[in-house]
């Protein structure tokens, strides 16, 4: 912008093709449905724009490798980097280095430990997700004061799992409930199935169950079906199309799911483009892309499922 009075020109200009920008993307290994959807959505989003030269690095769960990928992006002098770190804190240093090299970094989903490491941070709300699930269960269990609540968590060693569980526990506490049985799976179908069948054997009577991830949910539902159990309600997490169709059918124990947007990286790509092209967000008056965006974690039930299904991810 050469103007001395910056104006948000987004409304007319954002979709228009600008100068080509190189955007590097690095994320964890697409070893489960949600992350697969993240990658797919990001790539699809980049493809929509003729002015994005999109570079995707090998998905990895190794912080060391991811760092070297970001270094490579810095070496290549890309215009922006969209980074979904395997571990927020572990990638902070290299992201800072990129920022210092003048390359804006869009931090997706797992937050860096320093605000200086990202130009923009776009996050799902893991704590909020747990809270939404907890609140929904509180509502449903309002006449069962000592309801048995179970939880199937994702990869337990990830901070995000800890946040989700914390939010869940806090919400339940507010209505006098607690988690009676908890198992952790690994975000995979097989893991969900294995963990849940053990859980069901350990807890003969359940009133409500929250599963952190809808892709592992395929396994969870399968285990429930195997055990011939249907005495409880189940809430999912993530918001996959499979889960929503299940909710829509009305025949499943799965009554609701809490959305954890799989479009975060796609949003990140879009924001990276705007930042690199010095544009702003169209519906804001603000002339620059905001520093931090936290996405909402709404609950999808049979009542509003039609609304969410079209944007849900196919895992």
């Amino acid at each position: 912008g050469d103007s001395t009075q910056p104006t948000n020109a987004s409304v007319e200009g954002n979709t228009e093709e600008g100068e080509t920008v190189v955007v590097g993307f690095s994320g964890p290994a697409a070893d489960h449905g949600w992350l697969g959807a993240i990658n797919a959505a990001a790539t699809a989003e980049a493809d929509q724009y003729g002015d994005i030269d999109f570079r995707v690095a090998e998905g990895t769960n190794d912080a060391n490798l991811q760092i070297s990928q970001v270094e490579q992006f810095i070496n290549d002098g890309v215009d922006a980097i969209v980074l979904l770190p395997t571990d927020g804190a572990a990638l902070t240093a290299v992201a800072t280095k990129a920022m210092e090299a003048g390359i804006p970094v869009v931090n997706v989903d797992r937050e860096f430990s320093s605000p200086a490491a990202a130009r923009t941070t776009i996050l799902g709300d893991n704590y909020g997700m747990g809270q939404s699930a907890g609140n929904y269960i509180c509502e449903q269990m309002s006449d069962t004061p000592d309801a048995v609540v179970a939880e199937v968590a994702g990869v337990d060693s990830l901070p995000l799992t800890q946040d989700r569980s914390q939010g869940f526990a806090d919400a339940l506490e507010s209505c006098g409930l607690d988690v009676d049985n908890r198992v952790a799976a690994d975000f995979t179908v097989q893991g969900g199935e294995a963990a849940t069948s053990q859980l069901l054997a350990a807890a003969p009577e359940i009133d409500a169950l929250w599963n952190h991830d809808d892709d592992q949910g395929i396994g969870v539902l399968s285990a429930i079906d195997n055990a011939g159990r249907d005495e409880f309600i189940m809430v999912g997490g993530g918001g996959s199309a499979n889960a929503m169709r299940e909710i829509q059918s009305g025949e499943s124990v799965l009554e609701a799911t809490v959305i954890y947007p799989s479009t975060q990286a796609a949003d990140g790509v879009r924001l990276a483009r705007l930042i690199a092209q010095d544009k702003a967000m169209s519906d804001l008056v603000e002339v620059e892309v905001p520093k931090r965006i936290v996405l909402n974690a709404p609950v999808v039930t049979s009542e509003n499922v039609e609304e969410y299904l079209p944007t849900a991810f196919e895992s």
Partner: protein, 356 residues
């Protein structure tokens, strides 16, 4: 031609040769002797776990439902483990089984395959899964036996490649299995026992028979015990090695079918890290990692121990980190127990004190 003779290590147990091979040094092969005693150690470990389960969870632990849960959980990894028991007995290793299993589930639940299955019979899916597993095993076997690539590396490469292929084919989506007949069969009970458990039992029985009662099995042991001697005795060693890896691939295919039945889905993430679990079960069971001794019975017990362990943990709502810590300890204790019993038996049988 290597003039090296193998049995040596056994007759002169080196103090710590066991940093390569399980310290076990019982020759005992038939059920009543060495391997029987070995199994006794395992049975005791399993019984101890059951006792802990009983004490901590009461009758719920012994409920039929819970026992079936343990068995169902054990069945898939069990079938894979039986497949690699053969490979390991022959002195090889197969790291690719989990990944190959994932690939079979993806291919067998492709829309086109499911369509074909719907138009004819669900056995099409079975065929496809076995074919995929078999071909992967064939590639492993040929690279190892004829390409002279060390098995660890060849199958590690297959682990990586099969996972990549499965992701490509599935587009990293989870494919849902819709074929009703297939699911009905796989998810059914027979005489009150789930079909999955029956399959495991059948595979185990067939594996036992194959290993102990056929020329194929005896040659497998012979190759693991002394490859050169087997060759000199006229065994076609290379061809046999190929068969063994194909066998492991087929077992992965069967496991893939079971997995599809159990999860109603095919995905490239099926079977992640199964190779380590399976190898651990086989070795804890008493099959020698350097080859020359294999026990199907031990493998089954090894798988059951791990499965029961997980169950006990869950019954007690144990923290996953503590579970991991405990699991590490228990693996070591189980192996030590198994050795202790094997050793005691050997001492009794030969009155020859064991050197340590």
């Amino acid at each position: 031609m290597s003039e090296q003779k193998t049995p040596v290590a056994e007759r002169h147990p080196a103090p710590a040769s066991s940093h390569i091979a399980p310290g076990g040094r019982t020759p005992g092969r038939n059920l009543l002797h060495g391997s029987g005693a070995r199994s006794l150690g395992l049975v005791i470990a399993l019984a101890a776990l059951v006792a802990i389960g009983l004490i901590t969870s009461g009758e719920r632990f012994l409920a039929v439902e819970n026992i079936l849960t343990i068995l169902r959980h054990a069945s898939i990894i069990g079938v894979i483990s039986i497949g690699i028991t053969f490979v390991i007995t022959a002195g090889g290793i197969d790291l690719s089984v989990g990944s190959v299993m994932g690939l079979t589930t993806v291919v067998a639940s492709l829309a086109s395959v499911q369509l074909a299955a719907t138009q004819s019979t669900w056995l099409v899916m079975v065929l496809v899964a076995l074919l995929v597993g078999g071909i992967a095993g064939l590639v492993n076997g040929v690279i190892i036996a004829y390409g002279n690539v060390v098995a660890f590396i060849a199958t590690l490469a297959m682990l990586v490649a099969a996972r990549g292929l499965a992701e490509l084919i599935s587009g990293r989506r989870t494919l849902i299995v819709n074929n009703g007949d297939f699911l009905d069969f796989m998810r059914a009970d027979f005489l009150g026992v789930p079909v999955l458990v029956w399959i495991f039992a059948l595979v185990a029985a067939a594996g036992w028979f194959l290993l102990n009662r056929t020329t194929f099995g005896r040659r497998t042991v012979a190759i693991g015990g002394n490859l050169e001697a087997s060759r000199l005795a006229g065994v076609k060693v290379k061809r046999h090695l190929v068969y063994l890896y194909v066998l492991a691939g087929l077992a992965a295919g069967i496991a893939g079918l079971m997995m599809m039945g159990r999860t109603t889905a095919g995905t490239s993430t099926h079977g992640l890290l199964y190779e380590l679990d399976a190898i651990a079960a086989v070795v804890v069971g008493g099959t020698l990692l350097i080859g020359g001794r294999g026990t199907i019975m031990g493998t089954v017990l090894g798988v059951l121990i791990f499965s029961t362990l997980t169950n006990v943990f869950t019954q007690n709502n144990m923290d996953t980190s503590v579970q991991a810590l405990a699991k590490g300890l228990i693996i070591v204790v189980a192996v030590l127990l198994q050795q202790r019993f094997a050793a005691r038996n050997e001492r009794r049988a030969t009155a020859k004190p064991l050197k340590v």
